[in-house]
């Protein structure tokens, strides 16, 4: 017994046991089950039968599902690009020599740590058609004459939900990139400056290349979170108006849980996997480059 406990292979497996058990039962198995459900006609309270790719065929012809794919891609691309641009800008600002730097950094992250469902309620009220404080301010400034129907019009709703998503995501991107910026040695900037590099050149040829690996990872996470976003849309619009803001995640919830068609919902969720894999592969190559840049192996 004692020798067994000193055998690192045995002990290693023993130590892995609690984590592995939980993850196998509640992560790996459901991942497989979800894929399988996508090929069945399972309903709530009724086990499904294998129906091949009927669900996927049906969804491919379903205008709402197609709209949700468009919405998801639009939402992800626009929100991610803006989160990256604004996040990088904020990180560069916070990286300057500021008084109360750590205080600013702490405050900036607040939108990210507060439960999204709860901050989404604040946005819901800010976007209210009758009492929106944004409309009120714009009217007072004389910029608009009628209150904006933020969540009632398809394109307004899309852009409003994207704005709320950006609000929540910028702090994450900014703080992670700031951590990356702080690892860049100031002597590199000094050397570049002595060679006569302009601020833009120093950003373009010193900051950006050294930051690329962490940008790749941070943006992969950001894209992953955005692509599979659920709560913000659920709270703000529930997919409306006219399904204009339904993302694949919210639509699969609606079809599977209130709608009861587990199979169809699972098929929708499964359809997100190829996109997620693409994002993960992107991250993988980002990481490879990082090792190479640090002079590491592999």
């Amino acid at each position: 017994m004692k020798s067994l406990l000193n055998n690192r292979h045995f002990l290693g497996l023993l130590f892995m046991l609690p984590a592995a058990a939980l993850l196998l039962v509640f992560l790996t198995y459901p991942l497989g089950l979800g894929t399988w459900l996508g090929f069945t006609d399972a309903k709530i309270g009724r086990a499904g039968h294998w129906i091949g790719i009927s669900n996927f065929q049906y969804l491919a012809g379903d205008s709402v599902a197609r709209l949700s794919l468009f919405n998801t891609l639009f939402y992800t691309v626009v929100a991610s690009v803006l989160k990256f641009a604004l996040g990088l800008w904020l990180a560069l600002l916070l990286n300057r020599n500021l008084p109360f730097k750590s205080f600013f950094r702490a405050v900036v992250l607040l939108p990210f740590i507060v439960p999204t469902a709860l901050s989404a309620i604040a946005f819901w009220w800010i976007y209210d058609a009758q009492f929106s404080v944004v409309s009120w301010a714009l009217v007072k400034m004389g910029l608009i004459h009628r209150y904006i129907d933020f969540l009632g019009d398809p394109w307004n709703a899309r852009l409003s939900t994207i704005a709320a998503n950006i609000w929540r995501g910028v702090p994450f991107v900014a703080i992670c990139l700031l951590a990356g910026l702080q690892t860049i040695s100031p002597s590199l900037y000094e050397a570049a400056a002595l060679d006569g590099a302009t601020p833009w050149q120093r950003f373009r040829f010193v900051t950006l290349p050294l930051l690329t690996p962490i940008i790749a990872v941070v943006m992969t996470f950001s894209v992953l979170f955005t692509f599979t976003d659920f709560q913000l849309i659920y709270v703000l619009t529930r997919g409306g108006p006219l399904n204009a803001t339904h993302l694949m995640a919210t639509l699969s919830f609606q079809r599977a849980i209130p709608g009861g068609s587990l199979g169809e919902g699972a098929a929708l969720a499964t359809s997100m996997i190829p996109f997620l894999l693409a994002a993960i592969l992107f991250s993988y190559f980002g990481l490879q480059r990082r090792k190479w840049q640090q002079g590491g192996r592999d």
Partner: protein
């Protein structure tokens, strides 16, 4: 323009040497944009507070300035605590978050130590699998998980959440702790092994005390993740008295088409406070947890 001194001054102004900038320039390029960022990022919180302490009459009044409150009232908070299940929602959230955080942390300590230090056969692959598990979003798991939870008879109980939250907490905590364990010198363990310590003693007496910052980081981050969790709680819970705060505020406080903005905001504010307070005490740990997981 163009003299050597000027160019040098401009050159060193980047990053840590920005104190050489002229004041107006600093205001225009640093303070002004920063102020705009802070205003936008913090305004929703200000608005939450303002709305939660306004009386109903003041909320729908078109007179005066909506940015300020004339007669602050705690009526909405009283209503939440006395007339709704808010205290039990809060309690549920605390129980679920604390239990799932500690369970995940314990499982992750063992897993990370095994992967990083015992280096058993296949530990590299397991490490990679943990990272991949970290990337699996709840949005594609909730449907099959709902079926499993139902089959296990856990539907509409706190156990449904306590057992499913580790699916995103364990990968995250393990990944983070692996990084921390890696930074502890091997020599310490070798000395202890020579002195006859068992692996268990090494883990408890040497590794864990040295990894306390990592444990706090992982714990804080895991706690906020479980506090903020939404889709599982929405899917697996249906009775009001078992709901967590984020779900309950969205589903129980919204009745029909009449939105009671005061109680809604008060509920959102109260539900955000615990994580915000926790965060304010452990900012550094939280940030290092968040960035550590991304950087490793």
């Amino acid at each position: 323009m163009g003299t050597a001194t000027e160019r040098r001054e401009e050159a060193v102004s980047h990053e840590g040497m920005s104190y050489l900038d002229s004041i107006p320039r600093r205001v225009a390029t640093t303070y002004l944009p920063l102020a705009v960022f802070l205003f936008v990022l913090l305004f929703p919180f200000y608005w939450m507070v303002m709305t939660s302490i306004k009386s109903n009459a003041e909320l729908i009044s078109r007179e005066g300035n909506p940015f300020w409150v004339i007669a602050p009232t705690l009526e909405h908070f009283r209503h939440l605590i006395m007339d709704t299940d808010y205290p039990s929602w809060m309690w549920n959230t605390v129980v679920v978050s604390v239990v799932s955080t500690f369970t995940s942390l314990a499982a992750s300590v063992f897993a990370a130590y095994a992967i990083e230090r015992l280096r058993f056969r296949g530990s590299k692959q397991v490490g990679l699998a943990i990272f991949l598990a970290y990337l699996v979003p709840p949005s594609i798991l909730f449907i099959p998980l709902a079926a499993i939870v139902f089959k296990l008879g856990l539907f509409d109980t706190r156990w449904a959440l306590i057992l499913t939250y580790p699916t995103f907490l364990i990968p995250f905590c393990t990944w983070l702790l692996m990084g921390y364990f890696r930074s502890i010198p091997f020599e310490l363990e070798e000395c202890a092994l020579i002195d006859g310590a068992t692996r268990w003693q090494i883990l408890v007496k040497i590794i864990l005390p040295l990894a306390v910052p990592g444990l706090i980081s992982a714990g804080i981050f895991a706690f906020t993740l479980s506090w903020n969790e939404f889709i599982y709680a929405l899917t697996f819970i249906s009775s009001s008295e078992v709901k967590t705060v984020p779900i309950a505020v969205v589903t129980e406080l919204v009745e029909g088409d009449v939105y009671h903005w005061g109680p809604l905001m008060a509920g959102a504010l109260l539900g955000s406070l615990p994580v915000a307070v926790m965060y304010s005490f452990f900012v550094e740990y939280y940030v290092s947890g968040m960035t550590g997981a991304v950087k490793e």
